[in-house]
Amino acid sequence: MELNYWWILPLAAATLTLALARAARRSRGRDVRPVAHSGRLTALPQYRRALRCRRRWLTTAVVAGFLLLTATALAAARPAERSTTQPELRNRDIILCLDVSGSMAGTDAALTGVFERLAKEFDGERIAMVMFDSRAVQLFPLSDDYDYVAGELAAARKAFDDGGDDFFSGTWGGNGSSLVGDGLASCLRSFPGTGQDANRSRSVILATDNYVSGAPFFTLEQAAQLATPKGIRIHALNPGDLDYGGDRNQPGARLRAVAESSGGSYFALDNPAAVPGIVQKVQEGEAAAHQGAAQLVVADRPELPLLAALLSGAVLLLAGWRLER
């Protein structure tokens, strides 16, 4: 809390002192009647009562007047709160890129469940979902219609839970299964290219175990190269990391390399229940990476002095009315 015009306070104090001095001088010169035997009046209980009452109201009036002056002077000095804020990033685009081969059902369900929840809190973010097996299918494009998104995600989660084959039928019929490279490429292509969207932060959450059977058009690494020019980060979730030893060609290691080279992160999952924690971590990481410049915010905060002024003004009016009667 600080004052923009602090010099108003000494000014107000000086003015008050001057006014008091003037009033005192004037009251000294005022006509006062000398009387004798005032005990005739002052000894009366009624007089004492009236005097006590008057003294009380006078004290009240003086205190209220002083408070009123102080509060208005404070308000006139413009108390302001100076704070630095880190504007939260609300312009993210997130694409859920889910491998829907049979082994992934639990993770996918957990992931869609988390995003279904998150979608309700989103404000400005856009989210899309692509699922792939041997072919990639975009369930819904980047959208900030959160009701729609939540509906779609709920349907997807239900399908993952129930193993609803109809839902995934578009992802079959390709050349093999679990073609991760093709799926990732489709996801990365789902981001709009240019225009005002270009400066939004982009990330892909890729859930796959990276066990490819068949011949994809893109290898994982080739697909990942598409991410670099668009500045897309890939966060990989692997529920079936069975890597053993330091061989770089194992599926888990390759996935990790791809994710980290794009600036994203890699998580090996033991249990679908860990998904919410991981999503949270990803979110925080994103926020940290995309923090806006700290901004200095100076906000006037006159509420308290003005409220005090209002109250003391009311009390002063009441006291004045009582004293005038």
């Binding site: 009647r33 000398p34 009387v35 004798a36 035997h37 005032s38 009366l44 009236a50 004293l323």
Partner: protein
């Protein structure tokens, strides 16, 4: 400085025409009576003279009323006893300074005494000190007395305490004389009452009260007590409930004062403004006369069998 006596006289002559003044002279003359029964001569009746003093036989012979004059009537000493503490610098009921009204009363009485050829002395002061001007004759002397009172009763003077002046008179004046006490609406205590009783045994005592300012009511200015400087806010003084209580308390206080004077048998007059002084003084003298005439008549009737002189004059 304008002559105070002239001011007093001008006020006297404005408010009372010549006949009223003659009446006042007569009243004053009959204040001293019953002290000596030595017959001196006859003089024409003046309104205000006691009817009892008319010599009916001489009147019948002469054709116009004649009054018997006694030796003792001629020369008297009048001692003015005035409070000149700071109470007398406060305001009177009319809003004038009480001192001015006191000076007016003292001046009128002094002037009457002067016209009568009496000597006038002054004892005045406050609770701490008493001052005296010995009895003498003459307008200059009277003027000096008035100036002294006027000069002494100021706001930064000592606190008022008339008992001290009574004590002073008791100790310093033994010859019988007429005491005229001029004070404000004080409520005398037991000690003052004792002093007054002793004074009354020795002297004729008249009491003239200068009425104090009203304290409660729609007054415009705040007031302060001259004794201790404490203030009375006008807002409280104007409070109708306070005013009602005050009026009741004032009535009770006045009753106690009246009771006090009745108990001591002292005639009291009171004025709240300088215009009231003359009629009030007149009423005071009248009251004193009727009171003493009762007393002397009582002593006459009791002394009739034993005193041949008394019988002679009563007849």
């Amino acid at each position: 400085m304008a002559s105070l006596l002239q001011q007093v006289q001008s006020k006297m002559f404005i408010f009372a025409h010549r006949r009223a003044l003659a009446l006042l002279d007569g009243e004053y003359g009959s204040v001293f009576k019953g002290r000596s029964l030595d017959f001196d001569d006859l003089r024409p009746y003046t309104p205000g003279d006691e009817v009892r003093d008319i010599d009916w036989k001489a009147t019948a012979r002469h054709g116009s009323p004649l009054v018997k004059r006694y030796v003792a009537v001629r020369r008297q000493t009048v001692l003015l006893v005035a409070d000149t503490g700071r109470n007398m610098a406060a305001l009177a009921a009319s809003g004038e300074c009480k001192r001015d009204i006191a000076v007016q009363a003292l001046g009128v009485l002094g002037y009457l005494a002067h016209r009568h050829g009496d000597v006038v002395g002054l004892v005045h002061g406050d609770a701490e000190v008493s001052r005296t001007v010995p009895p003498r004759r003459g307008e200059d002397h009277l003027e000096r007395l008035l100036q002294e009172v006027d000069r002494s009763a100021v706001l930064d003077g000592g606190p008022s305490g008339i008992a001290r002046q009574f004590d002073f008179v008791l100790r310093n004046f033994t010859r019988r004389m007429l005491l005229v006490v001029v004070a404000d609406e004080l409520l005398p205590g037991a000690a003052t009452e004792m002093l007054l009783r002793r004074l009354q045994a020795r002297h004729e005592v008249l009491w003239f009260t200068v009425r104090d300012a009203e304290l409660a009511g729609p007054v415009v200015a705040d007031a302060f007590e001259v004794a201790d400087g404490s203030g009375i806010p006008s807002a409280i003084a104007a409070d109708p409930r306070v005013r009602a209580d005050y009026l009741q308390a004032r009535t009770e206080r006045e009753q106690r004062r009246q009771e006090f004077f009745r108990r001591l048998g002292i005639a009291e007059g009171r004025a709240g403004s300088s215009t009231e002084v003359l009629p009030e003084l007149f009423a005071l003298l009248e009251r004193h006369r009727t009171r003493t005439s009762h007393r002397t008549r009582a002593s006459h009737s009791s002394g009739r069998t034993t005193s041949p002189e008394g019988r002679q004059h009563a007849g």
